[in-house]
């Protein structure tokens, strides 16, 4: 198993390399002259030319890309922000904990909200509670993140004054952003949990367990749920990209100083190095989470564990 993990981690490297290349390439297409952006339009042409030489901007595309990756790999140097004039890494570093907190709390909230309610919804199929949950979940998934954020601010911050609407000062200020990110995500989890549970309850082994005399709640939570978790974990993984996108919006609306809001700042001010570095870092995080999700499968389902172990033999 360990070998499988190691192999997957190793495979990540070419993919991340590809990601860096892709983003670099996309930003390459953007019009405008970096030197002008950094120094300003009024700067003398010689200064701009000097800067271009200095930054290696006159080199061909592949040379620049190669230098870029070399700098990252050996010096953790992501270039200099065209907006703040600081090393990009310096801008990003303090923002990492904020984004990590938001993302992890978001997943936690979504899972703790979605899975238990999904199970209950399935067990109490077609009752009022089930139908109410389904309606709420279906509607919530259709609400865009920015709208949900603003609604939450309107109700809880503006009208009720319970929670802060911006900043990352206290843990409290994370509450609304976490609900914003995790809410729709949790609803997707609720729906998939419900539908897989409904299927699992109808399986033969559940019948065997009941015939054995196993109490109903053990059948539901121990037997059925564990088998149902597999598709649920798949969905958690598939939709995780959405939570990252949602966190970018949440960080913007709630003025959280995370990497997501940095991306937006970078895009708005056409600060290419910042954009590339931020997107790259977020993608690294994304890839690692996906790997963890894959490994979770092995823990849940012994058949998959066997497959992974065999893949190394």
């Amino acid at each position: 198993m360990i070998r499988y993990v190691a192999r997957r981690l190793l495979l990540l490297i070419p993919i991340l390399f590809g990601v860096a290349f892709l983003i670099f390439f996309i930003m390459e297409l953007s019009p405008g002259d970096p030197a002008t952006k950094i120094l300003g339009i009024e700067a003398p042409p010689e200064a701009k030319e000097q800067l271009r030489e200095q930054l290696g901007l006159n080199d061909p595309f592949f040379v620049r890309f190669f230098n870029y990756t070399k700098n990252i790999a050996f010096h953790l140097d992501f270039g200099v922000s065209w907006r703040t004039k600081n090393p990009v890494f310096q801008d990003i570093l303090p923002r990492i904990p904020v984004s990590l907190t938001l993302a992890s709390l978001g997943i936690l909230f979504a899972t703790l909200f979605g899975i238990p309610l999904g199970v209950i919804s399935a067990v109490k199929q077609n009752t009022i509670g089930d139908n109410a949950l389904r309606v709420v979940a279906t509607v919530l998934v259709a609400v865009p993140t920015f709208l949900l954020a603003m609604l939450l601010i309107l109700i809880f911050s503006s009208k009720l004054g319970w929670l802060p609407a911006s900043g990352a000062a206290t843990l409290e200020s994370y509450i609304l952003p976490v609900i914003t990110c995790g809410g729709p995500y949790g609803c997707a989890i609720l729906r998939i949990t419900r539908s897989t549970m409904l299927e699992e309850i109808r399986q033969d082994y559940v019948r065997t367990a009941r015939a054995k005399g196993v109490p109903d709640n053990v059948v539901t939570f121990k037997h059925a749920l564990q088998n149902a978790l597999l598709p649920v974990v798949t969905t958690i993984g598939q939709n995780f990209g959405a939570i990252l996108g949602g966190s970018v919006v949440a960080e913007s609306v709630f003025s959280l100083p995370g990497i997501g809001s940095l991306v937006i700042l970078g895009i708005r001010s056409k600060d290419t190095p910042t954009v590339i570095a931020s997107v790259l870092l977020i993608s690294i995080f994304f890839a690692i989470i996906m790997l963890i999700v894959d490994l979770l499968y092995a823990f849940i389902d012994p058949r998959i564990k066997a497959k992974y172990a065999k893949a190394n033999a």
Partner: protein
């Protein structure tokens, strides 16, 4: 204490959905003594599984038992609460095993855990060590090494899986084992092995058995008495001798035997019974078998056939009106 273990009286089960009501089992009666094995024979859809599920009270939400008495060990099962059924009957006094071993076991639990579960939920003061000992015992009993209890179902072949299922069923030494087509999904050679093992265990433990099957060969091998079900009714019942040796039979039974390939004779084609079983939501007036019966008479279309009894042999057909003794 009487010898009688199970007495099913006029069992009637329907499935009721918003669209239709299906008559699955229509007033069947049979009894079973301790240690006896009853073969419940019939085509797919005849109502055999429903009968078994009714006894265990494991019918789906749409199933409803309309009759009032299923007597087991002197108690009426239909009067017990679900909790009582769970604690005292299911797995403990009556065990049931199902047809498809491939899906009958929980894929993410070890085999040992699944057996241990059956034991754990029926013994109040048994400690973990004793449970594990019993698990080992039970595995050995069905011919599986005890060390395999840490393995998962997917690591076992079909026949071995079914043995595990049997082990789970017998772990609490129930008085009655209901086996719903336990060997149908297995290869013929494995089938013979598993069947032999079941017979042996049955003898050793004195367990009564209801063997649900459509295979007359299985019946001959392991059963003491036979009941033939068709479209929710018992159309013939009797001892093994009554069914296999006697010349009198319900036309459906004849058809069942006739559909068997015969090693000794040369035939061009098998002789299946033509037609299909009637739609259980739209049963015909009179005898359920009339449309497929080569002997159907006018009275068959009018009245539900009477039951004619000859000693231990019962046949529900107007053809035997004169044979009552």
């Amino acid at each position: 204490m009487s010898d009688e273990l199970l007495n099913v009286e006029n069992l009637e089960v329907i499935y009721k959905t918003t669209q239709e009501t299906v008559q699955a089992v229509n007033k069947i009666s049979f009894t079973l003594k301790r240690g006896e094995t009853l073969g419940l024979v019939g085509e797919t859809g005849a109502g055999k599984t429903t009968t078994a599920l009714a006894i265990m009270q494991l019918l789906s939400k749409t199933g409803k038992i309309l009759s009032t008495n299923i007597s087991f060990n002197g108690r009426n099962l239909l009067e017990l609460s679900d909790e009582e059924m769970r604690l005292q009957i299911r797995g403990e006094s009556i065990a049931m095993i199902f047809q498809d071993p491939m899906t009958a076991l929980n894929p993410v639990m070890t085999v040992g855990d699944q057996i241990a579960e059956a034991i754990r939920y029926h013994s109040t003061d048994i400690n973990e060590e004793e449970i594990q000992k019993r698990v080992d015992e039970v595995l050995e009993m069905v011919g599986i090494q005890a060390s395999r209890k840490f393995e998962y179902p997917h690591q076992f072949s079909g026949g071995m899986k079914q043995r595990v299922v049997i082990a789970i069923a017998l772990s609490c030494e129930p008085d009655l084992l209901i086996a719903d087509e336990p060997t149908t999904a297995l290869d013929v050679t494995i089938q013979a092995q598993v069947l032999a093992m079941m017979g042996e265990l049955r003898d050793r433990l004195g367990t009564a058995m209801i063997m649900i099957t459509h295979d007359l060969g299985v019946v001959a091998q392991i059963c003491d008495k036979v009941a033939v079900m068709y479209a929710g009714e018992l159309i013939e019942q009797g001892t093994l001798e009554d069914l296999y040796v006697s010349k009198d039979h319900h036309p459906y039974t004849i058809g069942l035997f006739g559909a068997l390939p015969n090693l000794k004779e040369e035939t061009d084609r098998l002789a299946p019974i033509s037609g299909l079983m009637p739609d259980p939501s739209k049963l015909p007036k009179g005898c359920n078998f009339q449309e497929r019966c080569p002997h159907s008479m006018d009275i068959c279309k009018e009245k539900d056939p009477d039951v004619f009894i000859n000693n231990t042999h019962m046949i529900k057909c107007f053809l035997f009106a004169h044979k009552e003794s």
